[in-house]
């Protein structure tokens, strides 16, 4: 999958490019608005990561021109201006998502996957990681298409790990996400919960990184 990165700071563009290439994407880079518009108009991309503060033509104008020309590839806006009305303006100008700087690379990768998946027309209430399918409308997890009965705590655990697939999530982070904040809880309650889920979803579904936490592995892009 080919992705265009439009960003004028060389350190940031290299960082994103390196991470994307590690994830298996083909990456094109440009540093100014005019060149970005030209590349986007003449070549075919699965997605574009677009910085708003560009020399020459600014990012929003580039986006407006692409959309006016009928180009529909997904665009993820990246900007140092983090105000909410600017974010809304970006989305309304035809962007598919908006991420403010500084960002975490996992977040960028997750957002990129999401915009590509959405542009491919996949249902937004379902997501697939490996053999697991998360249906957020029916609050259901399926393995190879077969629904599995989970308790609310188990559902929260699996859905959180699936939403952060590919990243090691620490035990304490999971505790915060699953149980009400400030509630007294047993130190090994997550461990017990993970054990129960593994019995239902298969032992390889959730992997343990000893000393770090748990991970559900991301399927290849």
């Amino acid at each position: 999958m080919r992705v265009l990165i439009v960003e004028d700071d060389p350190r940031i563009i290299e960082d994103i490019a390196a991470s994307l290439e590690t994830e298996g994407y083909l990456v094109d880079q440009v540093g100014d608005g005019e060149a970005a518009w030209f590349k986007g108009s003449t070549e075919s991309y699965s997605a574009v990561i677009l910085d708003l503060g560009l020399p020459g033509m600014d990012g929003l104008s580039v986006l407006n021109r692409w959309r006016a020309e009928g180009l529909e590839f997904p665009v993820l806006i990246l900007t140092a201006r983090s105000r909410w009305n600017e974010r809304v303006k970006g989305i309304d100008a035809g962007a598919d998502d908006y991420l403010s700087k500084p960002f975490q690379m996992e977040e960028l990768l997750a957002r990129l996957r999401a915009v590509i998946r959405r542009s491919a027309g996949k249902s937004s209430s379902q997501m697939q990681v490996g053999v697991l399918t998360l249906d957020t409308l029916q609050l259901r997890i399926s393995v190879d298409g077969k629904p599995v009965h989970l308790s609310p705590h188990e559902y929260r655990l699996v859905s959180y790990l699936m939403l952060h697939a590919g990243r090691v999530v620490s035990q304490s982070e999971l505790t915060e996400q699953i149980y009400a904040q400030g509630f007294e809880r047993d130190s090994n309650s997550v461990e017990v919960l993970v054990g129960r889920v593994r019995r239902k979803l298969g032992s390889g579904s959730i992997q343990t990184r000893r000393g770090f936490g748990y991970i559900i592995k991301q399927s290849e892009p």
């Binding site: 960082d15 390196a18 201006r81 989305i91 500084p102 975490q104 009400a180």
Partner: protein
């Protein structure tokens, strides 16, 4: 209306001048009337005098007497107020009207030439003051040349009574006139001061955000004041705009190097220095939240709340929800929005977006399946509830949340300053927010903002 009020001063001055003018007019009119009556009485005396003279005859023994009675019966009634007296200086004789009774007019012994009229004011019977017309006649000038001093008198009480009656008649009219003048002055003052009232309501409209500037259709005298106010507003808008531009540049200037720092952290991680990389990542996130909050605070300070603007809540919430629905987590959630169209908050749209954005981003982060946004409004306030079905917060922790920089989740992105920003914005616009457990299971944030009214003048 106080002593300091312009209207009070103008009306007092008008009342004073109207009273003085009408008092002068009243005195003048009474004096004129008195003069007129006096002339009329004098004319009447002249007629009586001529009648009297025409009826003086000599008796056989050479004494004078008045033939017949005067057609005016007053001369026959004692102390009636109308009198005559004839004095013969050659053969001393004194004739008097019956009305004089036993009183004799004390005519001055002055030099009286025939035909010349003398006018006196003398004391009459019962101490009344009389108006007297006196003339000398010569009877039978060719034979005996009898010099007669003939006097006719009228009681001045008639004159005084007429003057009193006239004064009593004219007073209500003068009062009515005073009232008419005062009403006219009030209308004049009101009309004259109405542009100032319009300036005041114009400034109020600017403060309420219904308009940007005062209109330019004021009278010449008020126009310079309006121009000054407009220039002041212009200067303030420029200051706010430059603060806005400055914070935007600062955001760009701070966040870009922070992103580069994040890139450095990842390079370190790839080289195996994971501890330093984690530290740097954490610092970057903390710095970012601090920068966001401080920039908002700087903008709030620069803009103040003098010009709050009116922002309908629905489009702002819709925009934020639309944006969050694009995020990987947001697109998996159900978003339930129930906000009445008429809900309008008295604050600029960018701050409302910042407030709603921070709260909904939190809700999106924690929700399991559902985020619910509902609003109610009254003439004073708009109440916005944001709830999620996430894990929620224990009662004892609710109060601690929302304090400066505090966060209970040390692992999810963000440093907890989102609620602090919400607090800053609420405080700047006289609103507030509270945290509760939601019936959906998660956290409920209840925000109260001052209500605004959309005007057509926008």
């Amino acid at each position: 209306m106080t002593l300091q009020s312009l209207r009070f001063r103008l009306l007092s001055a008008a009342a004073l001048s109207v009273s003085v003018a009408l008092a002068l007019a009243g005195f003048g009119l009474v004096a004129l009337f008195e003069h007129h009556v006096e002339r009329r009485l004098d004319a009447e005396l002249g007629i009586h005098l001529k009648y009297l003279v025409g009826h003086i005859e000599l008796t056989d023994d050479g004494h004078i007497h008045v033939a017949g009675n005067s057609p005016n019966p007053s001369f026959q009634q004692p102390l009636s107020g109308r009198y005559w007296q004839i004095q013969d200086e050659v053969r001393p004789t004194l004739l008097r009207s019956r009305s004089l009774w036993d009183f004799q007019l004390a005519l001055a012994d002055d030099d009286l030439r025939p035909g010349v009229v003398h006018r006196h004011e003398l004391e009459g019977p019962a101490g009344h003051s009389l108006l007297v017309r006196e003339q000398q006649f010569i009877l039978h000038p060719r034979t005996e040349a009898r010099r007669l001093r003939v006097a006719v008198a009228i009681d001045r009480a008639d004159l005084l009574a007429a003057r009193q009656a006239f004064t009593a008649d004219i007073l209500p009219y003068l009062g009515l006139l005073a009232l008419a003048f005062l009403v006219a002055s009030y209308a004049q003052v009101r009309m004259g001061l109405s542009p100032l009232k319009r300036v005041r309501s114009g400034v109020f409209a600017v403060r309420e955000g219904q308009t940007n500037r005062l209109a330019n259709d004021y009278p010449d005298e008020v126009s310079p004041l309006v121009d000054e106010i407009n220039e002041l507003l212009e200067a303030r808008d420029k200051a706010v705009e430059s603060a806005r531009a400055w914070t935007a540049d600062l955001a760009h200037g701070l966040n870009t190097p922070l992103t580069a720092l994040g890139a450095d952290a990842r390079r370190l991680r790839r080289k195996g220095d994971t501890d330093i990389a984690d530290d740097l990542d954490h610092l970057v996130q903390v710095m970012r939240s601090r920068v966001d909050r401080e920039l908002i605070r700087a903008r709030l300070r620069a803009a103040g709340t003098a010009n709050p603007r009116q922002t309908p809540v629905t489009p702002v919430v819709d925009g934020v929800v639309r944006t969050l629905q694009r995020t990987p987590k947001g697109q998996l959630l159900s978003w339930r929005v129930e906000i009445p169209e008429m809900a309008v908050a008295a604050m600029p749209d960018d701050y409302l977006a910042e407030l709603i954005g921070n709260l909904l981003e939190n809700a999106c982060k924690w929700a399991t399946t559902l985020v619910e946004i509902t609003a109610r409004y009254s003439s004073e306030s708009v109440l916005i509830d944001i709830e999620d079905d996430g894990p929620g917060v224990a009662e004892k922790e609710l109060d601690r949340l929302g304090q400066r920089g505090l966060r209970l989740d040390e692992h999810t992105a963000g440093s907890g300053l989102g609620l602090a920003i919400v607090g800053d914005i609420c405080a700047a616009y006289s609103g507030g927010f509270g945290l509760e457990r939601s019936e959906l299971g998660g956290l409920a944030v209840r925000v109260r903002l001052p209500s605004g009214v959309l005007s057509d003048a926008r």
